[in-house]
Every structure is written in structure tokens, then in C-alpha cells.
């Protein structure tokens, strides 16, 4: 296949390995070593994308991560990826890509009609049109659908990504960010000083800017020597295709390695990308610099490119994107570009905004036949679907046209507005930037103590040998700071002779925008091509009073999304400065935030997805539940049996049957998820006395007691039973949900406030299983399986425990009831739990034993009016929940003072009541309660907390919090569910629906 713009010779491509790729149905011939963008240019593809707002045709603009235009959809099906920058997409055979942000395609885009509407889509268009009185109206709803589709970037995939991603933690002494000349020198120097080094390079090859220099030249020899040196150093780890996207506190860096992004399908068991979390002691930022565009009318036309990007395409990829080229610059760095372009066969005109240029710069170009235009700039690009010429003018000191313009015919315009050092990571660390007049750029304000050193172009160092030296020094200093060893001799390769004209930091003239005499432009002149932000938008924002650079950024969207100020920053700032008659540093710069370049969410998630998103906790009896067809439910991290359906039962049928069975026969529920805390030490009783509202000092060994804890602000925190196992040994239980929180809270009290108390708390939640055995036959069942204990009502009344064995396994049996039935809790070491559970069921067959799940457990406790999570919701007091009687009047406890704040003591607070709901449907928790005499709107009088069908009462019931609740027993109220739009009626009753005297549990 013919590649019209491919040079016969040269480049760093492998001409023996020809490949084919697809873009928008067109076949692109390429070689290994190409990028998608270099292949597009080699094949003469001009229009590769459409603009964001106006859908103007756009071509490849750069040769790196800063690419604003050539964003494409990559691959297809589940591996589809939006917004891939063609300039950094490595070419591989069979690569499929399509244009985005255009319909039906980039070459003919229907939305390009927006160009005609351009005067109406200026800065703040969305704010002004939709955030005013119409916001939230049907008009906005109607428009939004279309705007969202027509705007925006690429289309995201909606099916699951089939590839794997993984995370790696890494540690080193010196992290070197960037594998260009300065970074390579830094890695060598730090390594030679004995530091453990990690070197990260975003490109597939090491070399950075050296890869854009002529093949086989002096810089290549130096690069080869450095690579050879690194190969011999086993304390330097090199990761290519790896971008540091974020710099975080305490020298932690986030990086993404594109392990297998350069193939269609990663090899089996290999991740597509790898997320590196790197903890280092020192880092060297050798992140290079990004060339700045120039601003003039129609500077977004396909065929307008960055000057040194064109140089990259010529030298690295052997692609000459134009034959007749107009180069425009305001600094030295375009001169070497011009020379390389002429040698590659192009006809070049060079415009320099500066009037006087040193002879050593322009003399060699004159000899090569370059047409020089000192003092000139480009006023406008000619041509609509591609560059056909450049309108050039003499400039005054403000960049305004001086005198008439003339047109040079050309097919490519290459621009250089100087360079922007990549200081994103520096800025992310919260370190200061300082404006450097000489390079007209914001540079790191260095301090000796900083653990982040800078070197090379990131420091505005444009000279190659100087960059190598800076890298060497930074690497040495970073290593010295870690090892403490000074004066280690290092040996970093250098250039044999200096390469002149790379020194872009010198003599830059701060003119970036070219306008007519009156400051206007011949057409749209973009400061941010990615977001279609034109000079006129900056001017408009200024007229509307936007002064702060941060406001300007948000109002105009300059430098947002993937650009992050890479290309647009200085041009926008310079225009603002000009309008405000201030210097650029006075205007300031915006803050850079991670990520430096876009990263896939998949890489950050790694394998923490689906069931692996967090740990799953299983009780020791889990397998039995599964084997017995339990439907499981997630309770925090736990999996618990929800219900055990029999013969195709629905959940409602199953829980009603299970609850009824417990009241008639005997049931067992796995309560192993309860929080269990060993509270031990001579001051344990004093400690319990302080954290629980009730008294603990008189609790005898062998007894247990229900306790309630308050937060310090007087709100109920948690409840549970605590048993006294020995003189200084207590066994506390907490609710499942609060287990970890309560342990941390108790540790906090003991370690920060009550350090004089001799108490130790230890979580034993995982060490013990717990089963509640409940129902009229509970005692008979346990009598049948237990040995060594008298379980009679006389020997073991409520709130006492005994030690016994079941099948030879030691167990502790607490007599206590949550269900309201005669009930026991069996505590057993986790390792034996499954065996004990099976024994219970074996012996229980003759007692008609059944397991029951959390749903019926809830029904039973609601029937008894016991509070749980829905009632202990972080807003309720002891009084609200009917638990005030538990609180000691004599001893102080946590929360005892603040619980008597005025608002918490008010009689009108909603209090716990029961509701008997009329009709055949249950209530919905959260439904609001209204007085039947009042309107069903405005402030409610209460709400439903826990609802169920009660098999014992044969009606739907609910616990609720209701204002003046205790005085309203017998009253009818309305229950309003504003979500489901239903109204029910109910009778207010005591929350103790069933067996309020407790006869059954005391039986």
C-alpha cells in the first residue's frame, strides 16, 4: 500500500514489519514502531476528528500526550476504548479505530452546522442558556438529551471489560519520573550511588526528546551508551509504557503501566494495565516539556501542527506531513526543525516574531534555502478542510498586524510558541511555582529540603548536555539524601559535542497571539482547540468581569479535561494578562490535579470488583446453610441466612412459617455474626459501669445482663448482653453492625482517657460461634444434647449461664431471649461450631427443630418490641426507645450528662410505639405518620421503623417513632408512603405486641 507522506529512508520504525490498521473504514499501512497518528499522517489522512463545540474538521496536532484533536475510539466490542490519543497509540496489525464526536463520520459531520451558530455558542453558553430561570424545566430536560449526545467526547462502553487489571505496591529509594536524557542520567547517577531506583517512562522506548532528533546522530550514540550502562545495573528497575499520573503526600506516586495495550488481546493471564502505587524516599521529576501553540485565525485547521511534533514525525517515524511548510516561531527551537525538514525534502519558510536573530541560527538555514521572515507572524491559516496557505504579517510589539498581509501557499503550518515545562506533579504536591521571564514559563520554586528534585526540560533547560548534567546532579543528590554517602564518583555518558539550537529557554519573545491592528481576528483563533475556546471567548469573559484565572478556566472551560493546561495554559494566561494590563505571574496559574493523563478506572479498581470488592465474612456454619438451601443476605460484610424456603415458598411465606414454628416448636438461628469482645482486667466492672448506662458492679459470676451504651452526646449507641465469666473476665456482645466500631470505641476510651483503668479488650468475634435456640421445646432439646449441666428453670433462670458439653465439645449456654420464647444462646469455639450445630439438628429431629433466618428473627423481635438498627438510628435517646428505666440514677456513665440536654429531654419527642396496620398489606419502613384530623403534608408526627407480618397476632404490625406516642395508644393514625403514593390507617398500641408479661420466656 502506498504511504504518500512516508520518507524513503530513516526513522525508528521497522520497515521489515509492515502492518495494517483501520480508521473509519479506511486501511492505513504502517510499520511497527509507528503510532496511529504517524500512520494517519503517513497515509495522507488530514481530517481525523471534529471539534468539540463547532464540529470543525481537525487533524493531528502533536506527537505526544498533549494531543488535543486526534482523539479516537479504539478497538470494538467489549474492548472499545474512547478518547484514545492517536499520537500515543502504538500501531499494531489489525488495530481498529473510528472517529468520535462526529456523525456519520469525521469527514462529513452533520453537526458542523454548529459552525454557523458559532456566534451563539460562546463562553458560558450552557450556564447562560440553561442555568437561569429555565433550569430544571421541561425545556432543559428536552434539550439536555441532544446536547449531551452532540457534545462530550467519546462514547463509553456499556458492557464489561473482559480484560484483567492489577495493582502492584512498590518501594524504592529514588523514583525517576521520565526516561528522557535528564531522567536517564538521573537513574544512572542515583544507581551508581547505590540507591534502589525505579525509572518510569510513558513511551514504549527510552530517550524522550532524543528520539525526535536525527537517527544515527550524536544524541543516538549518547542514548545507546546510557541504555547500555543501565542494562548492567541491577539496582535500577525500568518500567516503560508507564505514566506517573499523580504525586501524593509522603512521597507516594501513582502510575499506570500499559502492559498489553499495544496488542488487541492481552496474552492469557496477563493484565492489560497495571496500577503501581510507589512509595519512595526521593524522586526526580524529569518530565520534559510540551511545546506551545501559537494563536491566529483558523489555527485549528488540519495541517496546523506543533513544530517539534513535525520534527518527531520526520526523524522518529520517517513521515513528512507536508511538502511546502510555513514555520512560525517566537523562540530558537524552530530553527533545528527547519533544517531537518529541508533535509527531508520540504520547502520551508520560517517566520520569527523576533526582528533580530543571532547569525549562527539563521545563517545555516539560509544555506539550506529556507526563506526567512524576521518580525513576521501568521495572521490566519487559509483553507477550510486543510491548510492551503498562510496569511502573514509584520508584527508590532503586541502581536498586532503592522502593515498589509501577504499569503504564502503551503500545505502545512508548523508553530512553536516556546515550551511549557511539565510541572504537573510538582503542583500536585502543593509545591510552589514561579514565573521565569527568560523561558516565559512557570517553574518549580526549588528548595534544598524537597524530596522531589527536578531536572532537564521540566526545569526549562533546553540544552541537551545541560539536561544530562542536571539529571546527573539530581540523581546524585537524591541518592545522597537517602544513603547519606557523599562524594561517590558517577560516570554518566555525555554528548561528545554540543548540539546547538535546542536552547529554547533563550530569547523567547512573549508574543503568542497574532491579531489584526484592532485586536480582532479573521476567524476563530483558538487558545484551547480541544474545548473550542477561542480568543474571543477569553475576551468575552474579561468583558463580563472574570478576573481570577480559576474562574476563567471554569467559565470558558479552557484547559479542562485531558488538556489540564498542557497546551492552552500560557496562551490563555497571556491573553488575560494583556487584557488586564498585568504581567503573566500577576494573573497567576491554575492548580494542576491528578491524573496527568487520563487513566482507565479498571486499572485503579484492579481485581477489587464484584465479590472481591471487599472481603466476605462467613460464619463457621455457612456451608450448612448453603447445603440446606438457605437464601443468603448480605449484612455488612457478612453473609447470613435470610430464610430457608420449603417447597417453593416465597420469602413472605417462608418467614411467616419460620416465625410461627419458633413460637410453637423450636428453631435455631445462627447468631455468630454478633460482635464479641473479651473485657478483662481488675477494673473491668468499673469500665463496664462507665460505658453502659446500667450498673455492673454487682453482677455475679455466672450471670449476664442486657446493657445499653450511649454516645458522649447522649444518643443511644448500641446494645447487647455481657456475661461475667470470672472474677476479672467479662464477655461482651455487640450488634453485628457495630462490632468493629464498639471495639475501636472501647480501645479509644482505655488508651486515650482512662489509661488508669487496668482493662484489656480483645475481639473474639471470630473465635466463637453463637446459636440462638428458641421455642417451647428449646429446653427439652438442649437437655437431650447437653451433658454436665442442669438446664431446669430453677437452676438456670433467665440472665444466667452454665457451662456444658455437646458431643464432647465445651459450650456455654446463656439463658436469654430475643424472640420472647423460652430461649438459650449456645456459644462454642468456631472450629467446633459446625459439629455442634449438626448435633443440635440430629437430636432436634424428634422436637421438629427448624432453622430460621434473619427475616423471621426480625418478625419475632418486632412482635416483642425489641429495638434494633432501624430504631437505634443515631438520633434516638433512651427515652425515645422506652429504655430510660435502664439508666442508673446514681452513677455517672458516658453520655449521662449530655443526654439531659433540653431538646433531648423534651416530652414531645417521638417515642417508640407499636402500630397495628389495617388491611391486607404491610407498611413500608420510612413511611410517615400523620394525625387523621390534619392534612397529610408538611411535617410528619412520626415514621415507621420496622415492619412485619405477625403470625402470632395474624396482622401486619410495625414499630414506629411517634410524637407523644405513649399517650396515643388506641388512636387511629394515617400512614403515608410518599414514594409509593399510598395511604394506610393503623391503630397505635404498645410496642410490646406479644406476651407483654414475658410469661413464655420465663417458662
Amino acid at each position: 500500500m502506498k504511504q504518500p507522506n512516508r520518507l524513503e529512508h530513516g526513522g525508528r520504525i521497522d520497515r521489515d514489519r509492515a502492518i495494517e490498521m483501520q480508521f473509519d473504514g479506511q486501511t492505513l499501512s504502517a510499520f511497527e514502531g509507528d503510532t496511529l497518528a504517524s500512520a494517519m499522517l503517513a497515509n495522507g489522512l488530514k481530517i481525523v476528528a471534529r471539534g468539540f463545540k463547532y464540529h470543525r474538521p481537525r487533524g493531528v496536532f502533536s506527537a505526544g500526550v498533549e494531543e488535543p484533536n486526534a482523539l479516537v475510539h479504539l478497538r470494538s466490542g467489549a474492548r472499545h476504548e474512547p478518547n484514545a490519543r492517536a499520537t500515543v497509540v502504538e500501531a499494531y496489525d489489525g488495530l481498529q479505530s473510528t472517529g468520535q464526536n462526529a456523525w456519520p463520520g469525521v469527514r462529513f459531520d452533520i453537526s458542523a452546522v454548529n459552525q454557523l451558530l458559532a456566534p451563539f455558542i460562546g463562553a458560558g453558553f450552557y450556564y447562560k442558556t440553561f442555568m437561569g430561570p429555565v433550569k430544571g424545566t421541561a425545556f432543559w430536560m428536552f434539550c439536555e438529551k441532544f446536547i449531551r449526545r452532540a457534545a462530550g467526547m467519546g462514547r463509553a462502553q456499556t458492557v464489561a471489560d473482559p480484560d484483567e487489571y492489577e495493582k502492584v505496591n512498590a518501594f524504592c529509594d529514588v523514583l525517576v519520573i521520565g526516561g528522557g536524557p535528564a531522567g536517564l542520567a538521573a537513574a544512572i547517577a542515583a544507581g551508581q550511588c547505590g540507591a534502589r531506583v525505579i525509572l518510569l517512562e510513558q513511551d514504549a522506548c527510552l530517550g524522550g526528546s532524543m528520539l525526535s532528533l536525527p537517527v544515527g546522530g550524536e544524541s543516538d550514540a549518547c542514548l545507546k551508551a546510557m541504555e547500555a550502562t543501565l542494562k548492567g545495573m541491577d539496582n535500577v528497575r525500568i518500567l516503560k509504557r508507564t505514566t506517573v499520573f499523580g504525586a501524593y503526600d509522603q512521597d507516594v506516586y501513582g502510575a499506570v503501566e500499559r502492559v498489553w495495550d499495544h496488542v488487541e488481546v492481552p496474552p492469557a493471564h496477563q493484565p492489560r494495565q497495571r496500577y503501581w502505587q510507589i512509595r519512595t524516599k526521593q524522586a526526580v521529576m524529569a518530565t520534559g516539556a510540551i511545546e506551545r501553540p501559537l494563536v491566529f485565525a483558523n489555527n485549528d485547521r488540519p495541517g496546523v501542527m506543533l513544530a517539534n511534533a513535525v520534527r518527531s514525525y520526520v526523524n522518529r517515524y520517517a513521515v513528512l506531513p507536508g511538502k511546502k511548510i510555513v514555520l512560525a516561531t517566537n523562540n530558537d527551537s524552530a530553527y533545528a526543525v527547519a533544517a531537518d525538514l529541508v533535509r527531508a525534502g520540504a520547502e520551508v519558510s520560517l517566520l520569527d516574531a523576533r526582528v533580530s536573530v543571532p547569525a549562527e541560527l539563521f545563517k545555516p538555514l539560509e544555506a539550506l534555502g529556507v526563506q526567512l521572515y524576521p518580525g513576521y507572524g501568521i495572521l490566519a491559516a487559509k483553507g477550510s478542510r486543510g491548510v492551503s496557505g498562510a496569511k502573514i504579517v509584520l508584527l508590532d510589539e503586541n502581536g498586532c498586524a503592522r502593515g498589509p498581509s501577504k499569503t504564502i501557499r503551503c500545505d502545512l503550518i508548523a508553530v512553536s510558541g516556546g515550551w511549557t515545562p511539565v510541572v504537573h506533579l510538582w503542583s500536585q504536591r502543593g509545591q510552589k511555582l514561579q514565573f521565569d521571564e527568560q523561558s516565559a514559563s512557570f517553574l518549580p520554586l526549588k528548595s534544598a529540603s524537597s524530596t522531589l528534585k527536578t531536572a532537564g526540560s521540566a526545569n526549562a533547560c533546553g540544552d541537551l548536555n545541560q539536561a544530562l548534567l542536571q539529571g546527573e546532579v539530581a540523581g546524585q543528590e537524591a541518592a545522597k539524601a537517602v544513603t547519606g554517602v557523599v562524594g561517590v564518583q558517577v560516570n554518566v555518558p555525555r554528548l561528545k559535542e554540543a548540539i546547538y539550537a535546542d536552547d529554547w529557554a533563550r530569547d523567547l519573545l512573549m508574543i503568542w497571539s497574532v491579531t489584526r491592528e484592532d485586536g480582532s481576528t479573521d476567524g476563530k483563533a483558538f487558545v484551547d482547540v480541544q474545548h473550542d475556546v477561542a480568543l474571543s471567548d477569553i475576551d468575552l469573559a474579561h468583558r463580563e468581569g472574570f478576573v481570577s484565572v480559576e474562574h476563567l478556566k471554569r467559565y470558558t472551560t479552557t484547559g479542562m479535561a485531558t488538556d489540564q493546561g498542557k497546551l492552552s495554559n500560557i496562551n490563555a494566561l497571556a491573553r488575560m494578562a494583556q487584557l488586564q494590563a498585568l504581567s503573566i505571574p500577576k494573573v497567576g496559574t491554575t492548580t494542576f490535579r491528578p491524573p496527568y493523563t487520563p487513566i482507565a478506572i479498571g486499572a485503579i479498581a484492579g481485581r477489587e470488583q464484584g465479590i472481591h470488592f471487599r472481603p466476605t465474612r462467613l460464619t463457621p456454619v455457612h456451608d450448612w446453610h448453603v447445603d440446606n438451601a438457605a437464601v443468603m443476605i448480605e449484612a455488612g460484610a457478612w453473609k447470613r441466612p435470610w430464610y430457608y424456603p420449603e417447597g417453593g415458598e416465597t420469602i413472605n411465606q417462608a418467614y411467616v412459617r419460620e416465625a410461627a414454628h419458633v413460637r410453637k416448636h423450636v428453631g435455631v438461628v445462627d447468631a455468630s455474626t454478633l460482635g464479641k469482645i473479651a473485657v478483662q482486667g481488675p477494673d473491668a466492672a468499673e469500665f463496664l459501669n462507665r460505658v453502659y448506662v446500667n450498673a455492673w458492679k454487682k453482677l455475679k459470676i455466672g450471670r449476664l445482663r442486657y446493657g445499653v451504651m450511649l454516645r458522649d452526646d447522649g444518643i443511644v449507641l448500641d446494645d447487647g448482653a455481657t456475661a461475667r465469666l470470672g472474677e476479672n473476665d467479662y464477655f461482651m456482645t455487640t450488634t453485628t453492625a457495630n462490632a468493629a466500631k464498639i471495639l475501636g470505641y472501647l480501645e479509644h476510651l482505655l488508651q486515650t482517657a482512662w489509661t488508669d483503668l487496668k482493662v484489656h479488650v480483645t475481639s473474639v468475634s471470630d473465635q466463637y460461634a453463637a446459636f440462638a435456640v428458641a421455642g417451647p421445646s428449646a429446653r427439652d432439646l438442649l437437655d437431650a444434647v447437653c451433658s454436665g449441666a442442669d438446664l431446669s428453670n430453677e437452676a438456670l433462670p433467665n440472665n444466667q449461664f452454665v457451662k456444658a458439653t455437646i458431643a464432647g465439645v465445651p459450650v456455654r449456654i446463656n439463658r436469654m431471649s430475643y424472640s420472647g420464647e423460652l430461649a438459650y444462646e449456645v456459644y462454642v469455639a468456631s472450629g467446633y461450631a459446625h459439629a455442634v450445630w449438626k448435633n443440635l439438628f440430629k437430636a432436634g429431629a424428634s422436637f421438629d427443630i427448624k432453622p430460621y433466618g434473619t427475616e423471621s428473627m426480625g418478625a419475632l423481635r418486632i412482635e416483642k418490641g425489641h429495638v434494633a438498627g432501624p430504631e437505634i438510628d443515631g438520633r434516638t435517646t433512651l427515652g425515645d426507645l422506652g429504655l430510660a428505666g435502664f439508666a442508673s440514677r446514681v452513677k455517672p456513665f458516658s453520655g449521662s450528662v449530655l443526654r439531659h440536654r433540653e431538646k433531648l429531654d423534651m416530652a414531645s419527642r417521638p417515642t417508640l410505639v407499636g402500630l397495628e396496620i389495617d388491611g391486607d398489606t404491610g407498611g413500608m419502613a420510612g413511611s410517615l405518620i400523620y394525625d387523621q384530623r390534619a392534612q397529610q403534608m408538611g411535617e410528619e408526627q412520626g415514621f415507621l421503623t420496622s415492619t412485619t407480618y405477625s403470625p402470632a397476632l395474624k396482622k401486619y404490625i410495625s414499630l414506629a417513632l411517634l410524637r407523644d406516642g405513649h399517650e396515643r395508644f388506641g388512636e387511629s393514625v394515617d400512614i403515608v408512603n410518599h414514594v409509593g403514593d399510598t395511604v394506610q390507617t393503623a391503630k397505635v398500641v404498645s410496642p410490646h405486641f406479644f406476651d407483654p408479661e414475658g410469661a413464655r420466656q420465663n417458662a
Binding site: Q250, V252, R279, G430, H748, L750, Q751, P892, V897, L898
Partner: protein
Amino acid sequence: MIRINCPVCGLRDETEFTYGGDASVTRPPIDDTQLSSWMDFVFMRDNPRGEHREFWHHVQGCRQWLVLERNTANHAIGSCTLAAGRGT
């Protein structure tokens, strides 16, 4: 992410710890019945820009409560000591 030098476990990632509030306030004695002392302790906080002392709990390590000096302006970490070591 910040990294915390636990006096028991050494330098560990923030993800192993949970933040536990302002360490510069002192809990009133349990038998203090003054509403104002408890109101101050529970609700009143300075919001300093700069040096701050905070409780951090090494929940996934030694389970010790730590007092960490942290600069709220730049996240610089200072000393880290056991809370239990500071007396009552």
C-alpha cells in the same frame, strides 16, 4: 495518601488506620457533671491551619490509638506517639 510511622509497627499506609478526631481536647473526668465541660469536649473544636494533633487508630495493625502531629495546610507529618503513653 499519607504514611504514618506507627511506634509499634513502623511506617505504614494511611489505609491501615482510621482517623479518630482531635487529640488536643481532653475528656472530662467521668464524674464531671458540668454540662459545659461535656459540651466543650464533644462539640467545640478549633480548626487550625497548620500544626494539629490528631488521634489515629491503627485498626489493621497493632490496634493502638496514636497521637499524630499533622500539618493541615500541607499534610506534613510530625511526631507519632502512643496515645496511652500520655497519661490522664
